[in-house]
Amino acid sequence: MNATKTKTLPDGVTEDPPWIRRLLIATALLFLVLFLFVPLAAIFKEAFSNGLAEYWWALSDPDALAAIRLTLLATVIAVPLNLIFGIAASWAIANFEFRGKSVLVSLIDLPLAVSPVIAGMVFVLLFGTNGLLGAWLEAHHLKIIFATPGIVLATAFVTFPFVARELIPVMQARGSEEEEAALVLGASGWQMFWRVTLPNIRWGLLYGTILCCARAMGEFGAVSVVSGHIRGLTNTMTLHVEILYNEYNFAAAFAVASLLTLLALVTLAAKSLLARRSGRAGQDSEELA
């Protein structure tokens, strides 16, 4: 993970015997191969099982394109909302002391503890035909459930905590001296934010956004409840995968799934790049001190 650990690993007494080391590495790797590598390989193997042409056909199918478009639309609306919330919440939490701060932090994590199915269900209870606002919506010819707004809402709910969760530790670790210096030197609040805060948190922000996007595009349970599964209209990518799979059109299902898998892999790559970067930055500041 970072290079300092290699240097500080002492030899001798705290080393495990080689046979134990090999046994543990082998067991851990076997477990990971069974649970991580095999599924990953299986997705791409199944996706290309009928050849490249079939793969391309599955992705350029109008229903698939509509699903991709809807997924992107939901992501483009939900992620910026959560981004703004994440920045605001982490600014308040990291830089200020106030009553009920720990409660707020726990509440931000709340959507993670809620089952995705329940996350979708709450919007049905609120906006569905028999829901609290159902009659009012119907009277005004507004449709939220089984339509795009419901999908956006469910997506936003499920991805709600991710940006804030990434940013809070980043901001807390940085402290606020640079902002204070900027203010003392006469910067306005927004100048301070754009020129000092934002550049400093950019990597955490970037990873939070990527994670948020990946989760938004990959959300299944919550979206499944509110979508109504209307082909070409209210189907997101994951729901399209489900439909294709249930129609025994495995190759096409895995073709769409492979796109989502690529997204997941990009997320992982971004994370390890970021970890390496911040690890190096941490090392630099240690050397300075």
Partner: protein, 362 residues
């Protein structure tokens, strides 16, 4: 010299108006109003003649050792060090702008998107009456789904607690080729859409799959069986178990192990008595996180379980079925119980983590 001091060397500190007279800061400091770890900055400037006689003379620390004074051209600069008491909550807020709007926006969005929708569940279930609620929750099919959800999640969390520790240990302590890739891929179940995970696992463990075929030879059918649910939930929970233990293992002090070894402890004794105790709370947290995640899981289970009522139907799946049958009340009742369980787990996790941070702080 504290890092927050902006005038290193000969450069003069910025000339600004006194924000707060230093005397007041000292006074409020004696009351120890609030603490903050991240703060180690500049708190204020006071002209020399504003200080009471004997408050400080020259460079030095305040009587309560919470403030550092630097005398510079007739003015005193007050600096407080990391983990030192803050002057006051009001001053702390006064330094940076945007507290009101930031908190207001966060709370507004939180209420609108999360709290208000979630409260409808409790609202709806409270209108259905105790009798109806109890009947909906204790129907045999519902009880069976709770039992399956709890048992499968428990099993998966136990597997993850064990293998999560093992994987974290191997990643932290040993070097082997491909370690970085393995380390990055541990998060795969977290980043991969659950539906994709579900169809991939079903394909692998199905009768024609890479692992399903050898299992079938042994007479074990994984797919459409509780075993399949266990596999899916293990997959889903793995990163939580690994990532909570890993930083704690990285932070362990090797000197303690060396001490134990030099005092004649065997490697196994060292592991049990020196390494395990500080890591155990993290293992427990990882277990609880994996458990909570598994309890609500839907996407990966729906494909592999076969959704047979009484046999392979987990609670989130039953909620889905009830919703599709427009039995909103039944679905709400099941959801209330499931949410209650999740919140109890969340509370336990928060308490565990607070405990762990206290331990780490000592």
């Amino acid at each position: 010299m504290p890092r927050g001091f902006c005038g290193h060397g000969s450069a003069p500190p910025p000339a600004v108006q006194p924000r707060t007279p230093l005397t007041r800061i000292i006074h409020q400091n004696n009351e120890k109003k609030s603490y903050c770890q991240a703060w180690h900055g500049f708190v204020g400037i006071a002209p020399e003649n504003t200080l009471p006689p004997g408050a400080c003379s020259g460079n030095g620390v305040s009587p309560d050792k919470r403030l550092l004074f630097l005398k510079y051209s007739g003015e005193y600069f007050g600096l407080n060090e990391r983990r030192f008491a803050l002057p006051s909550r009001r001053l702390r807020r006064g330094v940076l702008p945007g507290f009101g709007p930031a908190l207001g926006l966060s709370l507004f969005y939180l209420c609108l998107l999360v709290l208000l929708p979630l409260s409808t569940i409790f609202l709806r279930s409270s209108t259905m009456g105790w009798q109806a609620f109890w009947e909906a929750v204790t129907a045999p099919r519902v009880i069976a789904s709770y039992r399956l959800s709890l048992l499968a999640s428990l099993g998966a969390a136990l597997i993850n607690a064990f293998f999560g520790f093992l994987v974290a240990w191997v990643l932290v302590r040993y070097r082997f080729p491909g370690r970085d890739i393995v380390d990055a891929l541990v998060d795969l179940p977290f980043a991969l859409p659950t539906a994709v995970a579900g169809i991939a696992l079903t394909a692998i463990y199905g009768p024609e799959g890479w692992l399903g075929r050898p299992l079938a030879h042994l007479g074990v059918q994984a797919v459409f069986n509780p075993l399949g649910i266990l596999i899916a939930l293990t997959f889903i929970g793995l990163p939580f178990a690994v990532r909570t233990v890993q930083p704690v293992l990285e932070g362990l002090d090797k000197a303690e192990e060396e001490t134990a070894a030099s005092l004649g402890a065997s490697r196994w004794q060292t592991f049990r008595r020196v390494i395990l105790p500080p890591v155990l709370p993290a293992v427990l947290t990882g277990f609880a996180l994996a458990f909570a995640r598994a309890l609500g899981e839907y996407g990966s289970v729906v494909f592999i379980s076969g959704n047979m009522p009484m046999r392979t139907e987990v609670a989130p799946l039953l909620i889905m079925t009830k919703l599709e049958q427009f039995d909103t009340e039944g679905a709400t009742a099941i959801a209330v119980v499931l949410l209650g369980l999740s919140f109890a787990l969340l509370l336990a996790i928060n308490l565990l983590q607070a405990r762990q941070q206290r331990l780490a702080g000592q």
